[in-house]
């Protein structure tokens, strides 16, 4: 047993809150060996990060309390070691990288300084640390290492920041790297690069890699073994391929079932084409910078048009311009014979009823100080002619019912709901105005897969029942594949390609679209293995 590089045994951690103790993890045991990639898979709140935090001594006590268990590193229990001893292991023998590298890098020190610090505190002489830092930066693919070392975290892109984190973590060639959601919130192409980098480095150093993720695709791409967690407990573990191909636990089954990109694509629309919204030559520039150039497309009644692209492609700008949250620089958007972009404030007010929006993060898009009733009925306060006040309560109940919540939820506040429930509230709020078009700006990106699937189902059902049209902005291609009728691909402020969902996914014309599709990870380890083989041969032949 003591042969494992790292072993967690029967770990239980409790957090004390006013509502009583919360058992974050219970009796969790797993192990990691040298040269191995172990993935801990779980959704938010599953406790998947807690054991890593215990290993790194990052659990604040109080409010946390490690009630039982051991974390054996090379056979010695980390939890019983002295502060100074653990400090000497942290960063040197076991390193960690986090989700959101922007907030995890200290904003006020240069990245070179931060990487050097790791080396210096563990005994590397200052001069040597400096040269090594430059070497590390080069190794993780940061251009102009000498210049970059003097820059600050905010001056890098998201992907580069994660590379910097990796450089910092690997500075002392640790035996174990813990990566906590390292690619979440990164674009698919960047995600692929980071995963590739991690893999390369792991091969080079032979370290053990502990990957904490919610993404089946990431597991499929890199993990040797996987531990599936739910509600603080391990429900299943095994090799990645086994678990995917042959899930035992119902939760695992549900999780795999919910993974998007598996269902049938929408058929190409045929029959009478009724353009509901016709956008031509839409432009937006900030000074000299053109955020959106010459975008033209149509939206038909009852149709879902997805707009995909990486961050900075201009897809959100497009949505904001259509909704007049930003004033466009030029172009037209004809809806019901009127140009939305030329409406006076009074006309705009009337138009708001017809076009609504669901935002990415429901936590932020719902006013935390308003109850669900207030949030939904606000629509009728603003547009009093929709509904007489006496009917508000009934209608709120009805809407909540429609989005899968119950009328009892009416008097609660947003923070009392889970993420998926909050997004349902946001959808109910949009529906309150009885719109014709709903713009969904990354509306499901922040949700766990199982929740994501439910919300997509909800949106789909509403479309069928109410005849809504969606403009569905997303970076996640599998979701788009499941949900959209037509797809618009954007890059650098331009529409590079548009067509029916089949056309885009099965016969992409543009190289950019193809890259995007190739980088998107499949939840099936077998599929990913095949793709890797293909990539490898491709690179060999090239």
């Amino acid at each position: 047993m003591a042969d494992h590089l790292l072993e967690v045994r029967n770990l239980s951690v409790t957090f004390h809150t006013v509502r009583g103790p919360v058992h974050a993890v219970r009796n969790v045991s797993w192990h990691l060996d040298r040269g191995e990639v172990l993935a801990i898979l779980g959704e938010s709140g599953s406790g998947k990060s807690v054991s890593a935090a215990a290993i790194m001594d990052l659990i604040d006590c109080p409010p946390g309390e490690i009630t039982s268990g051991a974390c054996l590193f090379e056979g010695r229990d980390l939890l019983k070691m002295g502060v100074e001893e653990r400090r000497a292991i942290n960063g040197k023998r076991i390193a960690m990288i986090f989700q959101d590298p922007l907030s995890h890098l200290n904003p006020v020190y240069s990245v070179g300084w931060q990487i050097e610090e790791t080396l210096v505190i563990h005994g590397t002489p200052k001069a040597k640390a400096q040269t090594e830092t430059l070497a590390l930066l080069a190794k993780v693919g940061i251009p102009d290492p000498a210049g970059s070392a003097r820059k600050y975290p905010h001056q890098f892109s998201g992907g580069q920041r994660q590379r910097l984190m990796i450089a910092m973590a690997l500075a002392l060639r640790p035996d174990i790297l813990i990566a906590d959601e390292p690619t979440t919130a990164l674009d698919v192409t960047v995600q692929a690069q980071i995963l590739a980098l991690l893999e390369t480095l792991q091969h080079e150093t032979g370290m053990g890699l502990l990957l904490i993720t919610h993404d089946l695709g990431v597991v499929a791409e890199v993990a040797d073994r996987v531990v599936v967690m739910n509600a603080g407990e391990i429900v299943e573990q095994g090799t990645a391929a086994d678990v995917y191909a042959n899930p035992q636990h119902p939760y695992t089954k549900r999780l795999i079932g919910a993974a998007p990109g598996k269902g049938a694509m929408a058929p190409d629309r045929t029959g009478k084409v009724v353009p509901l919204l016709e956008v031509t030559g839409l432009r937006k520039s900030y000074g000299a910078f053109a955020a959106l150039q010459d975008a033209s497309f149509t939206l038909e009644e009852g149709e879902t048009v997805a707009i995909v692209g990486e961050s900075g492609s201009g897809k959100s700008t497009l949505a904001k311009c259509l909704l007049r949250l930003e004033e466009p620089t030029g172009g037209k958007a004809i809806y019901k014979g009127r140009d939305l972009l030329a409406l006076s404030p009074v006309e705009l007010y009337a138009m708001r009823r017809d076009i609504q929006m669901v935002f990415q993060d429901p936590t932020q898009s719902l006013n935390p100080r308003m109850s669900v009733y207030d949030l939904i009925s606000e629509a009728w306060v603003i547009h009093p002619d929709i509904l007489p006040k006496v009917r508000w309560r009934a209608r709120v109940a009805e809407l909540l019912d429609q989005v899968g919540l119950t009328p009892e939820h009416m008097h609660r506040y947003p923070h009392q709901f889970s993420g998926g429930q909050r997004q349902r509230i946001a959808i109910a709020r949009a529906l309150a105005l009885e719109p014709r078009i709903i713009v969904c700006d990354e509306a499901v990106s922040a949700l766990d897969v199982s929740i994501q699937a439910q919300v997509i189902d909800l949106l789909d059902g509403l479309r069928k029942r109410l005849g809504l049209s969606y403009i569905f902005i997303a970076h996640d291609l599998p979701v788009v594949r499941d949900f959209a009728d037509r797809v618009i691909v954007m890059q650098g402020g331009r529409i590079v390609e548009q067509g029916s969902v089949r056309q885009i996914f099965e016969a992409p014309r543009e190289a950019y679209t193809r890259n995007l599709l190739a980088a998107s990870l499949d939840p099936d380890p077998a599929v990913q293995a095949a793709r890797r083989k293909a990539r490898l041969t491709e690179s060999l032949t090239a």
């Binding site: 004390h16 006013v18 009583g20 109080p62 949250l325 609504q356 719902l366 100080r369 008097h411």
Partner: protein, 307 residues
């Protein structure tokens, strides 16, 4: 607000109150502070009504009676002042003016300052340029000069002291509100409201103000203490409230000539100021933690342990 809808809150209300109380109980300092403030508030409301007659009863031949002389009745436990009036009664009576000045100045500066700050932060027009300049001017305008101007042209009454102190504190709220509004107006739920067609007034009052409010309230608690001390300093310099009106600050400054031979004249009202400001500071510290979801566990933890 505009959405006054009858709604049953039967289940939510008591638990919320109990949660607040238990969080308060978790911080013993804050609990004591709240109790003390409640006593002060009681004195401020009922003090003059109960004790005004005794508090102004002079006795020139029994002046500067020392404290802790328990033969003379409870009113003289804290001693008597330079005119032989019982200090305890005077402190109780003075609580009203003191609280009125502080509360009035804080409320007025908060309302005006935050209104201007909302305008400056929300509008993108000329007001957003001019109003911060106005704040600069008020900041550099010496409060003493302002006091002399106002008190010369009007009279040194409680209302006018409130006016002076309120004007000098306006920039604090103005700047804070403006900075917060600049941030809050970009938040998602404000955008969501705009998408629904909400008017600017609605966005400001229904969506932005409630978010800014906790910060303003925290500042207000601290300012309450600050204003009491400022009023006391003005009295010290002879341009504040004047006798026969009575405030704690005025009592302290009137007792100053006796500090070496009748310390109690300025000590007790000074202690009242210290304890009140201290209580407010403790309360504000507690509020800061209680209103911050990321810090609240500290109190919730304590409540669990003690409750």
């Amino acid at each position: 607000m505009t959405t006054s809808v009858p709604r049953p809150k039967a289940d939510a209300e008591p638990t919320a109150v109990r949660a607040v109380l238990s969080m308060l109980w978790a911080d013993k300092f804050a609990t004591v502070a709240v109790i003390f403030l409640a006593v002060v508030l009681f004195c401020a409301i009922f003090g003059p009504w109960l004790l005004d007659a005794v508090a102004t009863k002079q006795n020139l031949r029994g002046r500067n009676a020392p404290p802790f002389d328990f033969t003379r009745g409870w009113l003289f436990w804290l001693g008597g002042d330079a005119l032989g009036r019982p200090l305890l009664a005077r402190i109780v009576v003075a609580a009203q003016n003191t609280m009125m000045v502080a509360a009035g100045a804080v409320a007025a500066s908060m309302v005006i300052g935050s209104a201007l700050g909302l305008i400056a932060g929300y509008s993108r027009g000329r007001a957003s340029q001019i109003i911060p300049r106005l704040a600069d001017v008020i900041m550099s305008f010496p409060s003493l000069l302002l006091a002399v101007i106002v008190l010369y042209m009007l009279e040194p009454s409680v209302t006018n002291i409130i006016l002076v102190l309120a004007i000098t504190r306006i920039p604090v709220y103005l700047r804070t509100t403006r900075a917060e509004v600049l941030e809050v107006r970009e938040r998602m739920f404000v955008q969501a409201a705009r998408v629904m067609g909400a008017s600017d007034t609605r966005i400001i009052f229904r969506h932005i103000l409630p978010i800014v409010m906790p910060t303003l309230l925290t500042i207000a608690t601290l300012d309450f203490a600050f204003v009491m001390l400022a009023e006391s300093s003005l009295s010290f310099l002879g341009i504040g409230i004047q006798a026969p009106e009575i405030t704690w600050g005025l009592m302290v400054s009137q007792g100053r000539p006796y500090m070496t031979n009748a310390w109690w004249l300025s000590f007790w009202p000074g202690l009242a100021i210290v304890l009140t400001t201290l209580s407010l500071n403790l309360l504000s510290n507690w509020l800061r933690v209680a209103l911050d979801p990321t810090q609240r566990w500290r109190l919730e933890m304590g409540a669990r342990k003690n409750g």
